[in-house]
């Protein structure tokens, strides 16, 4: 062996030794710690965990419910088990419990309809282990739609700058961007709406000082810019038309209330966009001069348009009326024949006079049975009303008895509940709630059984269980969809930056005239809301 060979051999050996040492060190550092829990002290209560994932019903396809244990200790151990499958055991030196995704999904999948328990052990400072009573949850049989689309924005007052619409894969922790205002050099985007939980047909409202106000219509992966902005939008189940509101929104403020903001629609009406004919229309009964119409929603059979309506008693459309806290919306519906494009008679579903509350944001379950809506003390915008709670009407029962009987759901809190949406199997709802802080809106998921009984809602899980403790943006307008939005943000951005593909003239002669004009031309931020 030459000297050169020897040197080379020595070098190789040194490298191998170094690699082996590094591998051993890594293996030692990253080894799975075996903890012997021989003797335990039983604690006769469940451990405090955050977020509160106890007593809930969860979808079998939900991402792991990572949580933090809010008990003092030096080591933590959590055993997750159900009727079948191998238990999941997590040992951690920190109170953060990160559940392995594959094993979690296997456990949930094997135990649909069964109970799911978290058994928490905490090693106290004295060295003894405490075992808490198990935390019990249930796994539903029915899956939730896989994606949740929401807007993330700082608590909005008048100005806006950073905002985006995101989609979250509920089976994973992945969140991806649908569109943010970087793609059109700043501006506002809101009111994302989908046709029966399908992102194949989607509308997003845009306001931009540079590119104008518009609605982006996405159909089968292609984007089109409609030269008018849509407000609250509801797709006809056929996908052939979208009804939307035009609102003259004014924000005002409270001097001493906990919620500083409040909103009033000084004027509003409904209009509809016929997709095939590329035309905007309205009808007398949905755009009355003496009424404020808003929040349209279609029944799943496409025969009825439900919407909210309040009397318009003021003539000055610039000042906040002194009786702003007396404005209450009724729930109406109107028959529609899509083939003939003909509207039927206006019907009253529920009167605010009877409930004593303002009825807002109606949404009907895709199976047509449940009408879910908000009621608050007054006004048109439940997010800013602490009194806003979720109510439900059994439409099947109503069709038999002829009476619409609202029922307050047992999932409400002392803070505002709003922006609810249904999963396509009618078993899950996603909604916004401020229950955790009173300021920051978060998305909650909740199970509803076939009788309309709601399970305890749970917070949208995050990889870092403490995510919400420091997160200053709100999760607004959560919409469940069954596929992911596949159009790239830049593609939507190009549509917005381009000139309108479809120009729409508003038929203002048949509607409340002033509402047809954008609320605050030149000051688009004035109409911004969470």
């Amino acid at each position: 062996m030459t000297r050169e060979h020897k040197v080379r051999t020595v070098r190789i050996l040194v490298v191998i030794a170094a690699v082996a040492m590094i591998a051993c060190t890594l293996a030692f550092v990253l080894r799975e710690e075996k903890v012997a829990i021989d003797q335990v002290i039983l604690i006769d209560r469940p451990a405090r965990i955050h977020p509160d994932y106890s007593g809930t019903v969860i979808p079998p396809n939900i991402t792991p419910l990572n949580f933090s244990i809010r008990e003092k200790g030096s080591h933590y151990c959590v055993r997750i088990y159900s009727k079948q499958s191998k238990n999941i055991e997590i040992i951690s030196k920190t109170p953060k419990i990160t559940i392995p995704e594959d094993r979690w999904h296997a456990l949930l999948d094997d135990n649909r309809g069964e109970a799911l328990s978290f058994l928490v052990f905490v090693k106290a400072e004295g060295g003894e282990w405490h075992r808490f009573s198990p935390i019990l949850n249930n796994i539903a049989n029915e899956e939730i739609d896989r994606y949740l689309v929401y807007r993330k924005i700082y608590p909005v007052y008048s100005a806006w700058n950073r905002m985006g619409i995101y989609q979250r894969d509920l089976q994973k922790f992945d969140e991806s961007l649908v569109l943010n205002n970087d793609y059109f050099e700043g501006g506002c985007l809101n009111c994302h709406s989908f046709c029966v939980n399908n992102p194949g047909k989607m509308l997003i409202g845009i306001r931009s000082s540079k590119y104008g106000s518009s609605a982006v219509l996405v159909e089968d992966g292609k984007g089109q810019k409609i030269g008018t902005k849509f407000g609250y939008t509801s797709w006809h189940p056929s996908g052939r038309l979208a009804t939307y509101s035009i609102n003259q929104v004014n924000m005002f403020f409270h001097t001493a209330k906990t919620e500083v903001r409040d909103v009033i629609d000084l004027d509003s009406l409904l209009a509809y966009y016929l997709v095939d004919r590329k035309k905007v229309k309205t009808a007398p009964d949905i755009s009355r001069k003496d009424r404020l119409e808003t929040y349209p929603t279609w029944s799943p059979d496409g025969r009825y348009l439900y919407f909210c309506s309040a009397p318009l008693s003021w003539t000055d459309r610039k000042a906040i009326p002194t009786d702003y806290n007396e404005i209450k919306y009724d729930l109406m519906r109107i028959n529609y024949d899509i083939d003939k494009d003909e509207w039927g008679e206006l019907e009253t579903v529920l009167l605010s006079r009877d409930t004593g509350l303002s009825i807002l944001l109606p949404r009907i379950s895709p199976d047509g049975r449940w009408l879910l809506f908000c009621m608050s003390d007054y006004g048109c915008f439940p997010v800013y009303q602490r009194t806003s709670d979720l109510y439900m009407i059994d439409l099947e029962k109503a069709s038999q008895t002829g009476r619409y009987e609202p029922r307050r759901l047992n999932i409400n809190s002392d803070e505002s509940e709003s922006w609810h949406s249904w999963s396509s199997n009618s078993r899950w709802i996603a909604f916004s709630s401020k229950r955790d802080s009173g300021v920051f809106t978060r998305s909650y998921l909740c199970y509803l059984d076939e009788n309309g009984t709601a399970g305890k809602p749970f917070l949208l899980p995050q990889k870092d269980p403490d995510h919400y403790d420091t997160y200053l943006r709100t999760y607004s307008v959560p919409e469940l969809i069954n596929e992911s939005v596949s159009v790239a943000p830049e593609k939507l951005g190009r549509v917005i930056r381009g000139s309108p593909d479809i120009l729409c003239d508003m038929p203002i002669t048949t509607a409340t005239p002033k509402a047809a004009v954008p609320a605050a031309q030149g000051k688009p931020w004035l109409t911004e809301r969470e």
């Binding site: 700082y154 700058n161 961007l177 793609y183 005002f252 001097t255 930056r497």
Partner: protein
Amino acid sequence: MSPTSYSRSHKHLTSLFLGLIFFILFYSYLWLYIDLRLIYSCGGIITNFPVFVKSWVFFRDYVSHPGGALEYGSAFLSQFFYIGWAGALVVTVQAWFMSECVDYILRTLGLSVLRCFRFVPVVILLIIYTRYTYHFYTTMAFLVALLFVCLYLRTTFFLASNHVRLIVFVIMSIILYYVAGGAYLLYAVLVVLYELLFKRRFPLGLLCLFLAVAVPYVLGVLLFGGSVINAFSDSLPFSWRILTFESRKESITAIYVLYLFLPLTMLSSTLYLKTPGSRIQTCLRSWVKKAKVSAGPPILRSLLESFVLLAIVFATVVFSSNREKKTAFSVHHYACHRMWPEVLKAARHPTENPFVISAVNRALYHTGRLGYDMFCWPQHPDVLLPTGEDRILVSWHKFDTQIDLGLMNMAERNLNECTQVFGEHPMILKRLALINMVKANYDSARIYLGALSKTLFHSDWANDYLALLQSDPDLSTDSRIQYLRSVCPEKDYAVIGYSKEKVLLDLLEKNDKNRMAFEYLTAWHMLTRQLEKCVRSIEHLNNFEYPELPVLYEEALLIYVYGTKKPVQLAGHQLSSKARQQIENFSRIFNSHKRNKQEAFGELARDYGNSYFFYHVYGISGVRK
């Protein structure tokens, strides 16, 4: 050592020494005169000062797009502006690197004659900071692009194959574009010019030119899914993120010069210096030679060069400085930190900036001088209590006035607007946490405190409050919070625009011991010349422990008494004979000019320009010479 090499090393040492002196002066200027803490504090004036948070998610969000890594680094380094000396050090090191890079590039291009250009970036940095503008990210992007140019020149210098050069260019392009985003274009342009004009490697140059366009599109748009506009402009001075904000456009010309001077130097030098037999080349060379001879020995020449450089720097500083702006920044900084004597000291130069005057009024209140000295500054009713309806996002210190008064909802609204526009700046978060604690919204306060605990320099404050919320959930031991709760209005009503008088009256209705509300209400009546209301307000003086009747109140009372002949109720206080004498003198002067306001102005301004008598007559103040 040969005489030549000795001379070279001596020259090198001299150059190093003079460079060191220059940068020490540069550093001292930034630290001691400019004081970069002012830029850190002035989030309401500088709208693009970045936020930095110690969290994985924050890091991940940045590095997930081209240019994000540099943005993250710049945001981190910018936080050191919070500590004056550290911020100055960061900028000085940045300036030094820039000058070294330019020097290296010019030497490599054979343009040693233009080495003095290495100070151009330094001078531009001086202009930027002397004008109190913030372009740190853009200048860092410039620096990183230059570093990559240097690396390219050095790496490819010994390479024989154009293919390898191209590979080097591509690899560096990918890395640089990912790190610095659009600033990659500067690198690409300089390399293209180098290859085409200096090395005359046309195929390589043209390929590089093609790649200059392709790399941002492929990486920025196709791979990272960004907007095509952002892919080519992010981190560059012509990005819409800069040009759509008036405040960010300040000093933008200097940044354009920074980005353009090297490409232009390369272009022009090729046209003039590299053209054989060029007259300009000949003239320049002979001029340099003559200058070298006439300047004498190398040491003297170095000194002369340094002197010229210092003269340029001095001129730059003089022409760029803006005392008015410095005053505004200083006042803002001290007001945000509740350093009242410093506020008054910084505002001693005459200014009509409404936000400065607003801070001065607050400082006067906190030092017990509002009733004595407020008319030493130019006052206007709009200035006393900015409610946030106009220019809402400017000068955050005005929100502290609202907090001090007890107007929590008003301050909350305004500060939330700021978060929306400026992001999670620690100064905003601190105030929002405080407001939520005062309003007993503990859960939201914890979220603000949680976010604040992840910042570099404000985590202690947040952690202390988080601990306090654990041990004392109602914060009953926190005297400031207890005081603010005692002055918060309880009467709720809907507003679009605030009536200042009503707001102040509500505060006094809630707590008639709210001294700040009392003084501001009295000041409001004086400023709006509502003497009847002013007198009624002063009659409540006994609710507070004033050792004497403040001079300005005396003046207002005297104007009322002399004007209406009605008596005033001043339990425990009396109008002083001195004040009576003052009003009589004032009247005498005024009458001596036949009650002609214009004619009496000069004399009255000289003697009474800072008095309420003068303001009442002329509606202006702070004019005493």
